[in-house]
């Protein structure tokens, strides 16, 4: 069975896994500029490597409700694929570890890590309205 590396993150009480290949960097304490009139999923604008970075709330994107405070950790992630690829910041509560998951997990959209359910995020599709 093939495994693939995933970055395990925490969103509140739940866990999510992001494909390691899509994650450019994990950053913390980056300056976030909130944007008035922005959609609920946008945490704010930041700067990364000399470029503007839009930071979205991962929990929001995954459909989780009840977000109150700004997520402290930003996962700078490639969303989309090919030419459509763009760097977007994903706000999470905590970046835990890089771990290996079954390759099939992505298709499932979830996995179990240490007995706990983990949402496996498809970064190529994330944020695209169906």
């Amino acid at each position: 069975m093939t495994v693939a590396p995933y970055l395990l993150v925490r969103l509140g009480e739940s866990l999510a896994a992001l494909p390691a290949g899509a994650v450019r960097r994990v950053v913390r304490g980056t300056r976030l500029h909130p944007l008035p009139g922005a959609g609920l999923g946008l945490v704010g604008l930041a700067e990364f490597a000399g470029e503007p970075l839009a930071v979205l709330d991962l929990a929001q994107l995954l459909g989780q409700e009840g977000r109150t405070s700004r997520p402290p950790v930003t996962i700078v992630t490639w969303l989309g694929s090919g030419d459509d690829r763009e760097l977007v910041g994903l706000g999470v509560d905590e970046a835990i570890e890089v771990t290996e998951l079954d390759a099939a997990a992505l298709a499932l959209g979830q996995a179990l890590v240490g007995g706990r359910p983990v949402i496996v995020v498809d970064t190529e599709q994330l944020g695209i309205e169906p």
């Binding site: 909130p34 009139g37 959609g39 999923g41 946008l42 977007v88």
Partner: protein, 109 residues
């Protein structure tokens, strides 16, 4: 004004307006003093932009007219999360800003 973007601050965020959209900038006297239009980092409240095609826009400050901005056009993905009328993102002196399309409305706070 031709070309470039007028960089303004409004509601705590930086915005870039296509320069040709702004006909005049007028000081609206409320309190405090300010510099001449176009003076950078002015914090004087009550600046009114007279827009071409009518309409007014009150801004907190007018920072500069930037001509050589590296524009990052908004993807469809992100367009959803940004205000309507936003065309792209840029960076000015390390601070990210939203560039408005020529016909886009800068949202209120």
């Amino acid at each position: 004004m031709i070309g470039g973007f007028l960089i303004v601050r409004r509601a705590g965020a930086l915005w870039g307006l296509p320069a040709e959209r702004v006909s005049t900038i007028e000081r609206v006297v409320q309190e405090g003093q300010g510099g001449a239009p176009g003076a950078p980092a002015s914090n004087a409240p009550g600046l009114e932009l007279h827009l071409a095609g009518g309409g007014r826009l009150t801004v907190d400050a007018v920072l500069t007219v930037a001509g050589n901005l590296r524009i990052h056009p908004l993807s469809g993905r992100l367009r959803r999360f940004l205000p309507a009328g936003a065309a792209g993102l840029a960076l000015l002196a390390g601070e990210p800003l939203v560039l408005m399309a020529p016909e886009g409305e800068i949202p209120h706070a």
